[in-house]
Amino acid sequence: MMPPEAPEHDASAVGSRSARWGVLVPVCVAVTGVVVVLAVLGGWLAPQDPDHQNLLSPAAGPSSEHWLGTDDLGRDIFSRILTGTRSAVVGPIVAAIGVTIIGLLLGLLAGFHGGRLEAVIMRIVDLVYAMPALLVIIVLIGLFSGGYWAAVGVLVLLATPGTTRILRAAVLAQRGLPYVEAARTVGVSNRRLIFVHVAPNVLPTVVTSFLLEFVGALVALSALSFLGLGVPPGSPDWGRMLAENRGLLELNPWAVLAPALMLMVTATAVTVLGDWLYERFEKARTSND
């Protein structure tokens, strides 16, 4: 029998656990920071006009003028990568915010109130969950004649059920605890119970699911661009570049590798940050410093 103050749970044990993150966290923070800066300033930082065509040097390899070479229309890959950061990142951020807010509200309502309300919410969630995501996206975007923001909207619709389920489970775990009942016997209103008592205790899950939703949306939106849905043809976008330049793999591999690497590095960095933040928040919630 281990008392709750037992040594395995004490602060020093957590300290050794933090050590395993090593330099990973600073690196991931740096990568995420760079991506955010590029999303804001990318267009201005680009050394050349990303849409300027130079048909005299198509599909050229890296040079002092074009650091990552050019594509088949002679456009500068480096400038297109920088400029494309915004469309790669902003949509997923908006999608993740939408999914998290809606998912949290539904999860709190369903998990806390239970009964009929929960049944209705969760059956709708199951219904959406059961739809084949890619088919729905292709059909809906085709129906509404495309557009980047339409794609973001459809992503929110399709990703919300997963988050709702996760957050409902987190709320359910809190709902039965004596601190909730104690607050109830004091006369705390349901709304306050939900938002002041239960919500802070599911915050670590909320933050992590937000970051993971972002990664999911980043990859999904790029996949849509790759398929030609979402951003219009010709615009600088990582997914689009992957699709348009895959024929240049032998002439200028950077035209394909650069956008692919950007996607991978961004997704990995944010996923690691999500895990790390979860641990941090969980520790902060249950320790005094």
Partner: protein, 555 residues
């Protein structure tokens, strides 16, 4: 440790010298170089409060320490050095020579395996067991179950969830004994059991130990249990053994101040309430529960079973007079907590009425807002588990201020609120610095005090304590008990729910005994405890550990 003849020393069953357990990360010593021994056929208890290192000692002996902890020292078993053994030798030592019985019989048994399979698995892993055919194995299983008092032939085919706690602990004991160990280490074997079941299991443990002439190392926080079962008691505190003596010596002349404190904190059953209630039984009632019943709806496929089973509460009537604290005792599952939850409005009763302070509380949902506020203010509750009763996300002052704000119809100024938080902390004996802390920084006893302070913030007339002391160490329990007595002195009436009759005698004036959802006995505490009429009350009384070997029968 006095000098002993080396030959005698070599003959000891278990001989431990300089055993230390360290936390590898911080280098903190959790068990600080202890030495002790167990003779063949001897029963020894290792007694201490949570965090004293008693469980870690047992785990170190079995080489089953949690990750991040390292053990060092000399352990001789049957004259052979075992501390140098690797995992492989340790595995042969475990089971063959050392049996382990743990606290929670449910997590100890694999939920997907029947009781018989559990035993068969262990029996088969011995050399003799491997050669047994099916029928011989079944016969051996039956014989071993009989030894632990299980004669029902259906039991070997049952899964752990189909068995009661006491039955599970018997199966676990049979499994621990399957390889006929010479030493059984029992780590809080009865802490998760009801008091009546506790006595049966302890009796069984002693009988088996004597019949097999097996060594027993009992690890417990309960002095009375240790006294009645063991020949030698080792008291452990902060990783050290502070005193070793036989029960009689320890009781009459404990040398170490810590032991004396433990003994003093362990309530004697004869301690009655210090200040008996002034009011007589005829005073107007504060709480009147009449013919209260509560059934829990079951899933459809279980309905038929439910129709035969008892409901949680059946036709319960109790009366609490203002100023006279009422105790509610009974085994787990007797409906004590359900009754409390109905009074608090956390459950809606199926039928019957609850009148508190002139309000009908049978249907909380239909109360008007002002009435609801009045009801919330009149009755408050302290729950059992100190570790989940406070919201970990908020500070102590936030928790207390919230209660104060819900009591007052008019808004108080910030200074007034802060002042009251400090007063509340003072009332439960906590310093003002606690206001800014979060629950995680508090020990179990401190959290329970904050929970009491939160209840007091509502200025209740009735305070329900639902097993509020049972998760606490004995010395902490005594302190919290003092706080509750001070609360009583301030005019708050207690409805005290407990399975511990010694505590009930100490804080209550009247007593109600519940058994399977029905009131089987009621009266003043002294009447009920000194002149029990109902069989169930008698068996509850018999289950209170006396600290005498006679309590477990025999010598």
């Amino acid at each position: 440790m006095p000098d002993v003849d080396p030959r005698q020393r070599a003959d000891r069953l278990l001989d431990v010298e300089g055993l230390t357990v360290t936390h590898v990360g911080s280098g903190r010593l959790l068990v600080d170089g202890i030495g002790f021994h167990v003779e063949r056929g001897e029963s020894v208890a290792l007694v201490g409060e949570s965090g004293s290192g008693k469980s870690l000692t047992a785990r170190a002996l079995m080489a089953l320490l949690p990750r991040g902890l390292a053990a060092r020292g000399r352990v001789r078993f049957d004259g052979n050095e075992v501390s140098a053994h690797g995992e492989r030798q340790m595995m042969s030592l475990r089971g063959q020579h050392l049996g382990l019985l743990m606290q929670d019989p449910f997590t100890m048994l694999n939920p997907l395996t029947t009781a018989g399979t559990h035993l068969a698995e262990t029996l088969r892993s011995t050399t003799e067991g491997a050669s047994l055919d099916r029928s011989a194995l079944d016969a051996d299983i039956a014989r071993r179950l009989e030894e632990v008092g299980v004669v029902d032939p259906a039991v070997p085919d049952k899964y752990p969830f189909e068995l009661s706690g006491g039955m599970r602990q018997r199966i676990a004991l049979a499994t621990a004994l399957a390889k006929d160990p010479e030493l059984l280490i029992a780590d809080e074997p009865t802490a998760a059991l009801d008091t009546t079941t506790q006595r049966e299991v302890l009796r069984l443990l002693r009988r088996v130990q004597r019949e097999r002439e097996m060594g027993l190392l009992l690890i417990t926080h309960d002095l009375a249990v240790a006294f009645s079962l063991c020949e030698r008691i080792m008291v452990m505190k902060a990783g050290r053994i502070v005193e070793v003596a036989d029960p009689a010596t320890l009781r009459s002349s404990a040398r170490d101040p810590y032991t004396t404190r433990l003994l003093a904190a362990d309530l004697s059953f004869s301690d009655a309430r210090r200040e008996p209630a002034a009011r007589s039984v005829d005073a107007p009632p504060l709480l009147e529960v009449r013919n209260l019943s509560k059934d829990f709806p079951r899933p459809r496929r279980l309905r038929r079973a439910a129709a035969q089973g008892a409901s949680a509460l059946a036709d319960v009537s109790i009366t609490v007079t203002e100023g006279r604290s009422l105790g509610l005792v009974g085994e787990s599952g007797s409906g004590k907590s359900t009754l409390a939850r109905c009074i608090l409005g956390l459950e809606t009763p199926t039928s019957g009425s609850i009148r508190l302070d002139g309000l009908e509380l049978g249907r909380y949902g239909s109360l008007a807002k002002a009435e609801l506020r009045q009801a919330r203010g009149a009755v408050q509750c302290v729950f059992q588990d100190p570790y989940s009763t406070l919201n970990p996300a908020h500070s102590i002052s936030f928790i207390l201020t919230e209660a104060i704000r819900h009591r007052e119809t008019d808004e108080l100024s910030r200074e007034e609120e802060e002042q009251e938080v400090l007063e509340l902390l003072d009332q439960v004996g906590l310093p003002a610095t606690f206001a800014g802390r979060r629950p995680v920084a508090l020990s179990g006893g401190q959290r329970q005090r904050v929970a009491i302070a939160r209840s007091l913030a509502m200025k209740p007339r009735l305070l329900i304590c639902d097993e509020a002391l049972s998760a606490l160490d004995v010395s902490v329990r005594a302190q919290v008990l003092d706080v509750l007595e001070a609360v009583q002195a301030r005019g708050v009436t207690l409805l005290f729910i407990t399975h511990d009759l010694a505590v009930a005698r100490k804080v209550t004036d009247d007593l109600v005994v519940l058994y399977r959802g029905k009131v089987v006995e009621a009266g003043t505490t002294a009447e009920v405890l000194d002149n029990a009429q109902h069989d169930h009350t008698r068996s509850l009384l018999a289950a209170v550990p006396t600290g005498e070997p006679a309590w477990l029968g025999g010598r």
